[in-house]
Each structure stands twice: as C-alpha cells, then as structure tokens.
Amino acid sequence: MTPHSAPSVLLTGAVTALQLALLVLGAPLTVGLMRKVRCRLEGRPGPPVRQPLKDLRKLAGKERIRPQYASWIFSSAPVVLVGSALTIGAIGPFVSTYPFLGASADLFVFVFLFLVGSVALGLAGLDAGTAFGGMGASRAMTIGALAEPALLVAVLAISIPARSPNLPAIVVGSLAHPIWLASPGRLLALAALVIVVLAEAGRLPVDNPTTHLELTMIHEAMVLEYSGPDLALVKLGEAMRLGLLVGLLANLFLPWGIAQTQTLGGVVLGVVALVGKVGLIAAAIATAEVFMAKLRLFRVPELLAGAFVLSVLGVVSALALA
C-alpha cells in the first residue's frame, strides 16, 4: 500500500508547490462558489465567484489596526492560522498520493495541526480584551472540544481497513479496493465527518458564517477586532481550512482521479479531479445550508454527540468486516 519507489525530490517539490498554489487561490474561490450557489438558490444573482479574492486584495492594501491592549499574540495568530493550514496543504495527499513528508501525513497529525489554528484564534479572541472576543473564543473552544471525539473515532473507523491512519495509504488502499468506500463503516464515518467538518469550519447549522449579529456569532466574534492585512490572513486562513476539510472528504470518499504516478498527465488529471470534486462537495454543502437554520448553541452538543455515536457505529461495523 505504501509507495514502493521513492519519488524524486524535485517532482515532489513541484507537486507540493502546485498543491499550495491551488489551496491559496482555490480556497477563496470555493467560498465564493458556495456563496454564489446559495444566492442563486435564494433567487438572488449574488457576487461573482472571485469576489473573496478581490476582498483579500482590498484588505491587504489597508492599514493595520490593533486593539490598544493587545499583545504580540494578537498579531501572530493570523500568521499561525495560515501557517498551520499551509502545512496541512503541503503534506496532505490532495493532488497526488506522493506528497511531501507523505509518511507523516497522518490523519491524527492533521487533527492536531487544525487544533494549532483553533488555539491561535482562541487566544487572539481573548487578547482583544472585549466581551465579544472572549465569547467567541469560549464558544469555539467548547464546540472544538466536543467535536474532537467524533472526529478521531471517525478517523479510527476509516483507518481500520487500511490498517493505518496514514492518508496516502488510505487513499491508495481505497483505490485498490473500491469496496472499502461502500462499506458501512466508511459510510457511517462519512456521516460523522460531514457533521464535524460543518462544526470545525463554522458552517450552518453550527455557526452562521455570514452573521454579525452580536449574540449569535461564534467565529466572527473571535476575529471581530482584525482589520487590513491581518483580516485578509484570517479570511484566507478560514477559507483554506474549509478547503482542506472539503478536500480531505473528497479524497477519502471519492479518491478517483488523484495522481498515483509522478507523470505530467497524472498530475494534471489530479488537479482537474480535485477541483471538480471540491466544487461538487462545496456546492452540495451550500445547497444543504439553504434548507437549514442555525441550531441554538446548546443544541450543538446533541448534534456532535450524534456524530460521535455514528462514528462509534462506524468502528464497530468496520471491525465486524475486518
């Protein structure tokens, strides 16, 4: 299941650069696509798909402002958020199954790298020294903590058939044994993961990414004090995290098209397949969001507990077949 011949360093580097470029440019476009789909379904024309990229450029040109009592934590959090997302983008198998540091591209490693960004934002929220920052940080950390068991047990369920939580190994294994993809264990884990992705990425029904109503904000409350280039980084970071989660879902459950060879054709096909899959899943999430309302904050634990039960069932049924 592991790659037999060591791929050349140069090619791996090129593929990594390609993945990162796709992530930085593609993630804001994914957000734009989701907004567009939502607007169209609601009967509005909506902003163009490339609007988030334009917003980033506009924000990057503005002045940096910080709350007067904030420390260096406040200004380093956006950088850490983007840095952790870039690291996941570099080592994950998104375009090809031979990513840089592929042996470390473990689902557990990803979970902890995501946690790095969440902790950075949580600290920044409290650093602003306002009621809103603390409120957002408190809610985000609570939801993050409650989502974690469902996430890791779902990872466990996925790793059972491949006997490894290593992502390239899972993807290669699923391509060799497509039956894994239709196994009840994998499908239950998929259901759990979708809920967790919605929670981690701050989408409906857990958090409303477009709200600025003060008492319902979670993520937006945490980053309320950011402006200019810092806000651009935060927006980019959150778009990248969404893109990464959707990309992971895509390659875990629809692995076809990913480049298994280091040829130009394979990599081009990999890029096309990734863009197609991510676009499809993002559009599906946006469509589903139109029909959903935000849950009350204290109903969210029930949703996440449901996801946890699904993932445990996933482990049980995967073990029964293993």
Partner: protein
C-alpha cells in the same frame, strides 16, 4: 561509576539538608538550592549512564538499617523516572533561589526541600520492600510538611494537608499490605526474590496484592477516585514544591504500577488491566473537565495532572491488555508511549507550575479572574507559560504532541487484531484522548487568555513587575526542554525503549526509530518531528512575509479602541472572565460537574420591575469529593458519635465490656 554517582546524589541531598540548618538566613536558600542542584546533576548523570550502558547501578549496605539493610538497584526503568525527577528538581531548585518563599526559606522548610528531592530521586532505585517503603514514607512526610510550611499565612494549606495526609497514608497502608503479602509468599523482601517467586503465586494472592497496590499507587498518581488530595495540596504548596509534586512525585504512582505488575509479577490478569484502563479513562476525562472549569490557576494545573496521569494509565492499561492477548510488540509500544507521556508531562507541568508561581509572586494572586494582561508586564514568564500551555495542549511541534500521537497510533493499530474486550476498550481510549485533548486546549486557552492576555483586571495585575532571573531561568530551562523534546524526541526515545525493555521483556521492535522518523512497524505511518516542525516554521514565515509585503512601507500598527457595540470607554470588567469562558462547558457537562449556582435578585420596594441588586455566585466543587468522600466522612462521624454513647462513665458497663471481650477472645482463640 553510576553507583558512585547515585551514592553521591544521596549524600549531597543530605548535605543540602544539613547546610540548610547550619547557614544563616541570608545564604540559606542559595546554598541549599545549589547543593540540591548538584544532587540532581549526580542523579541525572547516574541515570543517564544506566540508560546508555544498560547496566544497573547498585549498592547494598547491611548496617544502615537493622535486620534488613538498605539495597538499591537502579535499572534503566527506574533510571528513566530518576532522570525526569532530576531535571524537574534542578529547574525547581533554580527557581527557588529567586522565589525564596516565606516558609520555604525558614530553617526547617529549606532542610525539608532537599530531603524531599532526595527521596524522589531514590524511590525508583529501591530494590527491597523495606528500602522502598522507608523512602516512600520519607517522600510522603517531607512533601506533607512542605505543603504546610506556609500554614501561618495560608490557612487553606492546613485543610489541604489534612486531606493529603489521610489519602497518602491510606495509600501507603495499601502499598504496605500488598508488598508484605508478596514478600511473605516469596520468603524474602528483596524485589529480585519476589520476581523469582511470581510464577508460583496463586491467582487469588496475586489478584489481592495487585488490587491493594493499584489502590495505593493510583492514589499517589492522583487517579480518580483517589485524586481528591491533589487539587487541594498541589495548589496550596509553595510553587517549587507544587512543581516537584505534580511533575515528579505523581510519576512514581505510574512507576509503582508498572514496576509491580510488569516488573515484579511479570504480567497481571486481564480484569486488572481493564480496571486500570478504566481508572485511566475516568481520570483523564474528569481531570480535563475540571481543569476546563477551574478559575484558580494552580488548581487548574493540578486537575490537568490528574488528566495527564490518566492518559499515562490508559497507555499502561492498553499495554497490559496487548500483552495479555499476545501482542508483545504492540504492548511495548503502548508502554513506551505511556512512559514518554510521563516524561513529557514532567517537563511541561513543571514549566507551568513554576511560571504560575512567578505569577503568584508578581501579583499576589492565582485567581484568573483577578489577573489579565500579564504578558505585557511579565514578558518572559508569560512566554514560558505559553510554551508550557501549548505543549500540554498537544500542539505540534511541542513535546506533548509526540506522546499523544504515539498513544493514538498504538490504540488505532491495536484495534483490528484485538479480542472483544480490547476492541471495546480501544475506541473508548481514542475518544478519551480526543475529548481530553479538546478540553485541555480549552482549559489552557482560558488560562493563557484570561490570565496573560487582554486587559489587567486588578491594580495588582496592572502593576506586576517581572520576577527575578533565577525564577525565569528555572521555568525557562523546562520550556526549552519542551521544545527540544517536541522537535527531537529521538534524543530520549532510545532511553524510553531501554526502560521498556527492562519490564516488558527484550525489545521486539514494535517501534522503529530511524533517521528522522519514528513510527510503528507495519503501520505505514511515521512521524518526522523535525520535518513537521520546519514545515510549520517555513509556512508561518511565508505567511508573515506575505503580510509584511502587503504592509509595504507603512510599518506602524495603529492601536485603537476595541469595538464595544458603540459604547465608548470599555472597562476591563467587560472582558470575558474564566468563569464565563467555562460556562458553556459547565452547562454541557452539568450532570457530571453539578455546579452550585445561586442567583439572588433584590428589587426596589416600590416596584418589582426595578432591580436593586443582583448577586450571582457559582462554584464547581469536586463531584467525587462531594458525592463519595463527604457522605463517607459523614457516615464515619455518625458512627463515631454513636460509639461515644457506649462509654457513659458507669463502671458496671466497663466491667461488662471487659467480660464480653474476654469471653469472645476465649471463644476465638480456644
């Protein structure tokens, strides 16, 4: 060589205690702390030699204690624990020079400190029941007195010490009973003889001894439900003592469990491992949850010790289950993960407790809700605390991440080939690790965010002055160790594997350490800590570079008033407090935490729609203490008051008691 060094460590420890009682107040702490650091250095050198060469260090004396003598054998397994304690003790002693402390710099306080350190360093080397118990008691009594040194200024220390005294003596009694049972069956009190006789023990005797020892050692490790002393005693002790207790002493509970079950008895029955694993799961979850809802900085850290020891017990339990079902290689990896967890916990918990001590001496408070904004007043202490907090939250590239990753890998990898009980235990273990990971991150974001970031909530916090260089260096060394062990765990992994080899049989290569990678054999997954760390650093640098580029020539960042819904002039009281930060978790886990809430609204006499005053009081008591220990204590005191009615002063009644007792004795003895 290593034996001589170990002897030197013991001798230096006693010298330090003597020096403390002889020197004047001016030099006392400095001299004692320096000699204590020398003792730690000797112990560390001895342990490193043992770990590197694989040869035991030993010395036996016949005359020191009548009949039994004293016997020490430091094997690689014990050496790992001695090494952790030595590093923690060196950091704590360095910190102590700057800290001084009121009770801790008194003649008795300063003499107790090196004795406590020496006992901690030598317990893992004890090779006979008597030696072990004497050192164990020395450790318990010196630490108990150290909790009490400030009792004149801090009345809470007395209550904490009472709880600690009862729990530690009850634990010691259980250990005594267990070890006596084993040594009476072996016919000798040396650990070697007990080990040789282990195969001939009946299952009942073995089970009983294991149960007794589990209770004793789990209470020292602070496992639920024996943890109640820990969140009281650790916060009330002076900070260097808290660090030693939380990062050194609790480890010895894990040491005892592994030493007895794997080392002396060569394995335990399945039910015992499952019991151990359940204790681990309960401790991890309960500790993490209480840490997330505490607003006292040191109490939060104490609960997180229960949480981390729970994770180590989880690893040990998983290791035993794998061994009991015939997966030797996996069992060794699980044990290695547990020991790595203990080692890493030593580093970050000492770092956190020492910097919490700095905060306490700079502001006079350890209540998070009266701190705030300290990072700007105490930049170094704040940075040290943040490193420790990120490490304990298992964030890459720091050390907590490596052990948590290894533990998760082991649990995940052990699943497919497992028997039913193990297959049930493993997903529970993964879920426990996940939830505690999330809760710990929330707890430490709260500690850092409320304590060190934002605006100062009190005048004391606003005027805090950075602590002395010794105190910064004490915590700083440990923070550096957290980073080094996170980036290069390969420095200590061979030692951990050597330690595992002693108790769990010769290494079967379940874990591979090659070049820059560590991983499980056959798992297709390896962690490259250096690669990952450099990847993160480069990525963060890229992001920072992009922001720098966007900024262009406008370098200055303009400070401005934060948004307060259009309200001008916000105050520090409008910030989220530790209490409010934890409120959602408190509400979600209401049934476990049972917070005590009290809302009192008084209205103006003329109209009940005009509120005069609102008092809100919320307290989260330890559920186990409130629902297990308090009723038990109440029952005992009821029994006591009932028994007090028996002796009513009547001489006839006493004669009757004497007569009945005599008849009973005659009937029983015959």
């Amino acid at each position: 060589m290593s034996s001589a060094l170990l002897g030197a460590a013991a001798a230096l420890g006693v010298c330090a205690a003597a020096a403390a009682s002889l020197t004047t107040a001016r030099w006392r702490v400095m001299v004692t702390a320096l000699i204590t650091m020398g003792a730690s250095a000797c112990a560390l050198a001895s342990a490193a030699t043992v770990l590197h060469s694989g040869r035991d260090a030993s010395f036996h004396t016949v005359g020191l204690i009548p009949i039994s003598g004293v016997s020490f054998v430091l094997d690689p397994f014990g050496a790992l624990f001695t090494a952790v304690t030595a590093v923690v003790a060196a950091g704590a002693a360095l910190f102590w020079i700057g800290y001084g402390g009121h009770g801790l710099s008194s003649r008795s306080g300063a003499a107790l400190m090196p004795l406590f350190v020496t006992a901690l360093l030598l317990v893992p080397a004890a090779a006979s029941v008597t030696t072990f118990l004497i050192l164990w008691e020395l450790m318990a009594i010196t630490s108990l007195l150290l909790v009490l040194v400030d009792h004149a200024r801090n009345p809470a220390a007395i209550e904490a010490a009472t709880w600690y005294a009862v729990m530690t003596q009850a634990g010691a009694a259980a250990i005594l009973a267990g070890l006596v049972l084993l040594s009476s069956h072996a016919g000798s009190q040396s650990f070697a003889a007990i080990h040789d006789h282990a195969a001939h023990l009946s299952p009942t005797v073995k089970g009983l001894a294991l149960l007794l020892l589990l209770v004793g050692f789990a209470s020292k490790a602070g496992a639920v439900p024996f943890h109640v002393w820990l969140p009281r005693a650790h916060p009330e002790a002076p900070s260097p003592v808290s660090a030693l207790m939380s990062a050194g002493m609790v480890n010895l509970g894990i040491y005892g469990i592994v030493r007895v079950a794997d080392g002396l008895l060569g394995g335990a029955p399945m039910w015992w491992w499952l019991l151990l694993l359940s204790l681990g799961v309960a401790s991890a979850l309960f500790g993490a949850l209480n840490a997330a809802t505490s607003s006292d900085l040191k109490r939060l850290l104490a609960y997180s010790t229960t949480d981390n020891m729970g994770l180590a017990l989880l690893g040990v339990g998983a290791s035993g289950l794998f061994a009991a079902t015939g997966h030797q290689a996996l069992s060794q990896v699980a044990l290695a993960a547990a020991l790595l967890q203990v080692l890493n916990h030593g580093a970050f918990k000492a770092c956190l407790f020492l910097s919490a001590g700095s905060v306490q001496s700079a502001t006079g408070s350890r209540d998070l809700d009266s701190l705030g904004g300290l990072l700007r007043r105490l930049p170094v202490t704040g940075a040290i605390f943040i490193v420790g907090a990120l490490a304990i939250s298992a964030l890459p590239p720091l050390n907590g991440f490596v052990s948590e990753w290894l533990l998760l890998q082991t649990l995940a990898h052990g699943l497919p080939s497992a028997v039913t009980w193990v297959a049930i235990a493993m997903p529970i273990g993964v879920a426990t690790l996940a939830l505690t990971g999330g809760l710990t991150a929330a707890a430490l974001v709260k500690a850092v965010g409320v304590g060190f970031l934002g605006r100062p909530r009190t005048a004391a916090a606003a005027e805090a002055i950075e602590v002395s260089h010794y105190m910064q260096a004490g915590g700083g060394i440990l923070a550096v160790i957290c980073v080094v062990l996170g980036v290069a765990p390969l420095v200590v992994l061979p030692s951990v594997l050597a330690a595992v080899g002693v108790v769990a049989g010769p290494a079967r290569h379940g874990l591979f350490v090659s070049g820059w990678h560590i991983g499980l054999v056959g798992a297709h997954s390896a962690l490259a800590p250096v690669g990952l760390a450099s990847c993160l650093v480069v990525a963060v640098a890229l992001a920072a570079g992009a922001r720098r580029l966007a900024q262009g020539r406008r370098m200055a960042v303009r400070p401005a008033e934060a948004w307060g819904s259009g309200r001008a002039a916000q105050t520090a009281r409008m910030q989220y407090t530790a209490r409010s930060f934890a409120e959602p978790l408190e509400r979600v886990f209401h049934d476990v935490l049972r917070p005590d809430l009290d809302l009192d609204v008084t209205t103006v006499a003329e109209s009940r729609y005009y509120v005069q005053e609102i008092t809100y009081r919320a307290a989260v008591d330890d559920t186990v203490e409130a629902h297990l220990y308090r009723p038990a204590i109440a029952a005992v005191s009821r029994w006591g008051s009932f028994a007090r009615r028996l002796p009513n002063g009547s001489i006839h009644r006493y004669l009757a008691f004497g007569f009945v007792s005599l008849v009973l004795i005659l009937a029983l003895v015959r």
